[in-house]
Symmetry: C2
Subunit: 271 residues, 2 copies
């Protein structure tokens, strides 16, 4: 069981067709805009133009269809009409506090960058690769370490994870078309088969599933109630399976190289 | 820049002194309880006793101070008074839908396990190690792959990350006591020095910082405006620094072993 208490509830907030208000235009605002651009939300940015950092101004101009910029200070509760989330990025505690109070009255989730105690939620370091999103939170114990953990996680990825997830999503849809039905026996059978594929195949192999390979996998696997190997499916459909170099291979190669060198040395010496 | 659109906003929701209502008592409810126990929220669980899974019943009895169980069906909007978040874990779409609508009316964030479209937020695979929390979301493309990515991330960790983060948090507090002041020049100097330590020291080294080592680090590092090595601080304060084996070491060891074996073979053969 996980250790209890003291942590946050890490969740994936849905912002499709929602409106997020960002107040302030500095570096933190740019970070917030980046985070919200990950979603499909509309962004309202309230900040006098002279307060925009270079990066914020750039984002506003690149994403002009997603971001509406109001060149003025936050003007009061009227700003909150039809807003689903508020993020303040101000260097002014008092104004942040006022905005938080207005949000609280209307039960609008709010994050104030400069007043952690008033936040409904925090941000963390994030990784995104297509449909894959990873968030790292240190619960306020240092953003630097969150960034280091993020780098560590990133370097453990092969870079094919996002694609693998996309392909598995597509395979699952095709399987559902082939064997429709919600819940019950067929649903469970689908889930078991998909799980077995994900367990037997590496991420890199899953990422290589193209349309012909998917059809072959469903034909040779699902229809025959078995779990084919990546080799069986990918090689015949024109792609080649991934090759991972195991640490044992490195050791063996080293031993062989050492042996050859020593043999040459001794043989040449004897002459 | 991150790829835009189509994703979720991954956030760390704060639930200190908040109340979370969970409706339903099966396996999903147990998972929800586990997630919420990570935080400091009070949990209200509404489900007839006969509907509790073994695991849910166990959690209710172990965490009796955190979880209040109401042995009945969800009775209507009265249940939502003073509730800050609602999680339904029912096998009954219609009841889930009704509860979601009541939540929407009162602007209470809600997750309905059986109706993704009505959810304000989703859950993902999670890792917790003390103050460190990691969440993995595939944005609905398969929980199995989220679990695989989670395992991959876990195996890239040394297991010292949580402790390292705790120690860095403590070091930062001690530094703030020694050099107080919010923002401004001293705040920036503190941040720079802490960042340099986190960059120069490995997680395993940071995890070994005990009280005497922290004092020494502040004395020899902060006060002298330099970044001491882990060796300098940890060895003299009675702990030993961590040793990582680089791949190059493996290769060199292999070469040496191979050379020795071949030398022995040739020498023995000559006799």
């Amino acid at each position: 069981m996980a250790s209890t208490g003291g942590g946050s509830l890490l969740i994936a907030w849905q912002l499709k067709d929602k409106t997020v208000l960002i107040v302030g235009g500095g570096e933190i605002a740019a970070q917030r805009i980046d985070s919200v651009l990950t979603t499909d939300a509309c962004i309202l940015l309230v900040c006098p133009s002279e307060g925009l950092s270079t990066r914020t101004a750039q984002l506003v101009s690149i994403h002009s269809t997603r971001i509406t910029h109001f060149d003025r200070l936050f003007s009061g509760r009227g700003e909150l009409t039809n807003v689903d989330m508020v993020l303040t990025a101000l260097d002014d505690n008092e104004r942040s506090r006022d905005i938080c109070e207005l949000c609280r009255e209307r039960k609008i989730p709010v994050n104030a960058a400069d007043i952690p105690d008033l936040c409904d939620f925090y941000f963390g370091a994030q990784i995104r690769d297509g449909p894959l999103q990873v968030m790292i939170s240190t619960n306020g114990n240092g953003p630097k370490l969150a960034a280091l953990v993020k780098d560590k996680i990133k370097s453990s990825f092969t870079g094919k994870e996002g694609e693998a997830i996309t392909k598995v999503g597509r395979l699952r849809s095709q399987l559902k078309e082939r064997a429709p039905g919600v819940g019950g026996a067929v649903g469970k059978k689908r889930m078991r088969w998909m799980s077995s594929i994900c367990e037997k195949w590496s991420m890199d192999d899953l990422a290589m599933l193209d349309e012909p390979a998917m059809s072959k996998l469903l034909e040779e696997g699902w229809e025959k109630n078995r779990v084919p190997s990546p080799k069986e499916i990918l090689e015949t459909s024109g792609t080649t399976t991934s090759m991972a170099i195991a640490p044992s291979h490195i050791v063996i190669s080293g031993v062989v190289v050492g042996a050859i060198c020593m043999a040459l040395t001794l043989v040449l010496k004897r002459r």
